[in-house]
């Protein structure tokens, strides 16, 4: 028999993993996923209590949280995209601009590896086939 405590335990574990991940990772995407994980832990709690008390309130909350999380995901990913375009980095430690005036920036002793520069997309000729060599390109 799976009792309420089991559900709560799963929810707590999900929340705990998400929390630890949020506090320890610096990649925006990872942090975002961890935050989602914490949310899901909470949703599990709601569902469990809803079921335990025998009414649909918990499920309604759960649906709301999922909806809001979807909106939030859209916004957050858009923001990350903008930040990445500006700084070519998803490291949250690179964005310290909101600290108090006069405080020295926190310097990372073990920075994340810079992402490798992406290979440039080849320019495709109108025909759509990738030219093999320059001469070929000229010919095309």
């Amino acid at each position: 028999m799976i009792s309420l405590e089991h559900y709560l335990a799963v929810g707590a574990v999900l929340f705990g993993i998400g929390l630890v991940g949020f506090l320890t990772r610096r990649n925006f995407i990872t942090m975002f996923l961890c935050a989602e994980m914490m949310l899901q832990g909470v949703v599990v709690n709601f569902l469990a209590f809803g079921r335990f008390h025998g009414h649909l309130g918990g499920q309604v909350f759960g649906l709301f949280i999922v909806t809001v999380a979807a909106c939030e995901a859209g916004l957050a990913l858009a923001l990350f995209l903008m930040l990445y375009r500006r700084g070519k980095s998803l490291d949250s430690g690179d964005w310290q601009g909101i600290r108090e005036d006069g405080l020295p920036p926190t310097v990372d002793l073990d920075p994340l590896a810079r992402p490798r520069p992406e290979p440039e997309d080849p320019h495709l000729p109108a025909a759509g086939a990738k030219p093999v060599s320059k001469e070929e390109a000229l010919r095309v």
């Binding site: 320890t24 964005w95 909101i98 600290r99």
Partner: protein, 657 residues
């Protein structure tokens, strides 16, 4: 055109327009040297209008002559309503004519004297503004308007005394003049307030006088208010406790000394008291104070003038002394018929304007020739070098000394006359009036002595020219000598023409409504006014005093060199050091004020430190907490988690209990 009030307004407008034009000329470099033209034309126009006013008032019929302009409300608040209106009566007409006439000649003199000076246009702009303010003061029919003119002349005096503002002594003198007169003005303003309160909330002079005549106020209040007004007069007219600014004001250019510090502004106090005679006669105590202060000032300033080595300072102390004479005369109103007191004072004011302006301009002419040296020990024997200046200066000196038949003789005689009569009729203060009379006679002798000492030291003896003069040691140009000659004629004849044989001056002045009112209050029931009478005894005493002073000066100084008998050396020293009044004031008022300022400075620093300490507390607390805002997202998240943990702990433990 025929209305006297309108003519008086034209007379007001002329110097104002001159001031504006001269001020505009300041801004045009190529036209600055023409700035004397608007001033001369403006003053001349004002003088012509003033003479027309005078002739209109002279021709007016009736026992009391007064033309009041329709009143325009200047400002009002509750019961306090101030109207801007001017009044033309014999008193203001005489004063207006004197001011504008003397100002015109002094402006002409200045055109020569100030020629080539850097601030030429500024000088004439401020001078014109001064004449305008003085005319406002004279014509005002309202205490507040009078005060506006009163302060206006004060500001112009400040600007002109500090004309050579790059010179520290001139700047200090200007400041001193302004501050010391301001001390008196505080009393003046308080006096106006007090009269406003006891006088039925009127500030218009004619209404106030009428109200107070019909509703006599509490004598104590009235005396206090009169004395407060007198405070203002003491400051402006350089009387006993506050006379110290006038000698220092000689730092200004000489025409300024002639116009402002001899002929016009300093007589404003005398004019004020004459104007308010109907208030002062109701308070015999205040009158006694006025008379006593006048007598003491006259004697003290006369004594100080005896040993001064600076020609202009001699004349400055002489001015203080002569103003004292006028106050003596004013102080007798009530003990004698007020029309006599006012007539004597204003008559002396009138003649004094001529001969003192003449003497100052003469000293300016000497200064011009001597390369701005004014120390009488450094030059001498200028009789041959400057014949016209010498002759006119002699006329002025003789008039000031009160030699018979000259203008000063007649006016001084009238003052001695009213003082002597006050001794006989003054009910409470017979002894005081006798004392002041004796002082006046003594001062007459002193006046003759120091005047002729200055004259002999400057013009007699061996010719001595300071090396500063260089090639300039010659007679002044005619643009300067012309005004000297005109004023010399005035100094010689102004007295004899207007007063002694027909009592024209005193009779004319008695037509002023304020004087009539004063007479009606002092001697109720009098129908015909007493005329000043000529007393051979008093004239003899005055003449004897004048000749005694003159003779003494001749015997001591005819060689043109300073000689002091050894027995009088101490007194001479005392006079030379101005009785140590400046030092006394410095020790009594200036030093404590400085000490107070230093203490206040420290106290201010203490307060600043205190508030800085208070301000430092939140700053220090902020400094402790600020590193928390380090901009790291994880750190903020950790903060939230820790907060949540604490919160949950509390909740759990509370609910578990």
């Amino acid at each position: 055109m025929s209305d006297p009030v309108r003519l008086a307004l034209y007379a007001l407008a002329c110097p104002l327009a001159a001031a504006l034009v001269a001020a505009l000329l300041c801004g045009v470099k190529s036209l600055r040297h023409l700035a004397h033209l608007p001033a001369i034309v403006g003053f001349g126009g004002a003088a012509v209008f003033a003479l027309m006013v005078l002739s209109q008032v002279l021709g007016a019929e009736g026992e009391s002559v007064s033309f009041v302009s329709p009143s325009v409300t200047w400002f009002s608040a509750g019961k306090f309503s101030v109207s801007a209106s001017i009044t033309v009566d014999p008193l203001s007409a005489v004063m207006l004519a004197t001011v504008t006439f003397v100002a015109t000649w002094i402006a002409i003199f200045s055109a020569g004297y100030m020629h080539g000076d850097d601030g030429f246009a500024r000088f004439f702009a401020v001078m014109s503004l001064f004449v305008f303010s003085m005319c406002v003061l004279v014509l005002a029919n309202n205490f507040l308007l009078l005060l506006a003119g009163w302060e206006g002349v004060g500001v112009c005096s400040y600007l002109l005394v500090g004309y050579y503002f790059a010179k520290p002594s001139a700047a200090a003198a200007a400041r001193k003049a302004f501050l010391v007169t301001r001390l008196g003005d505080v009393g003046f303003v308080l006096g106006i307030f007090l009269f406003w309160q006891i006088g039925g909330y009127h500030t218009d002079l004619d209404k106030l006088f009428d109200y107070l005549a019909k509703n006599p106020p509490n004598p104590g209040m009235l005396t206090a208010a009169c004395l407060l007004l007198f405070c203002g007069a003491v400051g402006k007219s350089a009387q006993l406790p506050l006379y110290v600014w006038l000698p220092d004001a000689m730092e200004g250019p000489t025409p300024v000394s002639a116009l402002i510090h001899a002929a016009t502004m300093v007589t404003a106090g005398v004019y004020l008291l004459a104007r308010c005679a109907s208030l002062f006669v109701m308070s015999p105590d205040a009158q006694a104070v006025v008379c006593l202060i006048g007598g003491l000032t006259a004697a003290l300033a006369g004594f100080i003038a005896v040993a001064q080595t600076d020609l202009k300072r001699v004349l400055a102390y002489s001015t203080v002394s002569q103003l004292g004479y006028m106050f003596m005369a004013l102080g007798t109103g009530g003990a004698v018929s007020p029309n006599l007191a006012v007539a004597a004072a204003i008559f002396h004011l009138f003649t004094h304007a001529f001969f003192k302006a003449l003497l100052f301009l003469g000293s300016g002419s000497v200064m011009h020739a001597m390369g701005n040296v004014i120390d009488m020990r450094k030059f001498g024997g200028l009789r041959k070098l400057m014949p016209v200046t010498h002759a006119t200066f002699l006329c002025g000196s003789a008039a000031l000394a009160g030699l018979p038949l000259l203008s000063g003789f007649w006016s001084k005689d009238q003052i001695l006359d009213v003082l002597f009569e006050a001794r006989a009729h003054g009910h409470h203060y017979k002894g005081l009036y006798l004392f002041v009379f004796a002082t006046a006679v003594l001062t007459a002798a002193l006046t003759a002595f120091y005047t002729f000492r200055a004259y002999f030291l400057t013009f007699w003896g061996e010719e001595k020219i300071p090396h500063e003069a260089g090639h300039h040691a010659h007679e002044s140009p005619w643009i300067m000598l012309g005004p000297l000659c005109v004023l010399a004629v005035g100094a010689v004849t102004a007295g004899i023409v207007v007063e002694p044989f027909n009592h024209g001056f005193s009779g004319f002045l008695a037509k002023s409504p304020s004087v009539r009112l004063a007479v009606a209050q002092a001697m109720p029931g009098t129908t015909d006014l007493p005329h000043p009478h000529f007393s051979w005894v008093l004239a003899g005493i005055g003449t004897a005093a004048a000749f005694a002073g003159l003779g003494l000066a001749y015997s001591m100084y005819r060689t043109g060199t300073e000689t002091v008998p050894p027995s009088l050396r101490a007194a001479w020293r005392l006079s030379l050091d101005k009785l140590y009044v400046d030092e006394l004031y410095a020790a009594l008022f200036v030093k404590p004020a400085e000490l107070l300022a230093v203490l206040s400075r420290y106290f201010d620093g203490f307060l600043d430190g205190f508030s800085r300490v208070i301000a430092a507390i939140p700053r220090a607390a902020g400094g402790v907490l600020r590193p928390l805002q380090n901009g790291l997202v994880q750190f903020y998240a950790l903060g939230m988690v820790m907060g949540l943990a604490v919160f949950l702990t509390v909740v759990v433990f509370r609910s578990g209990r």
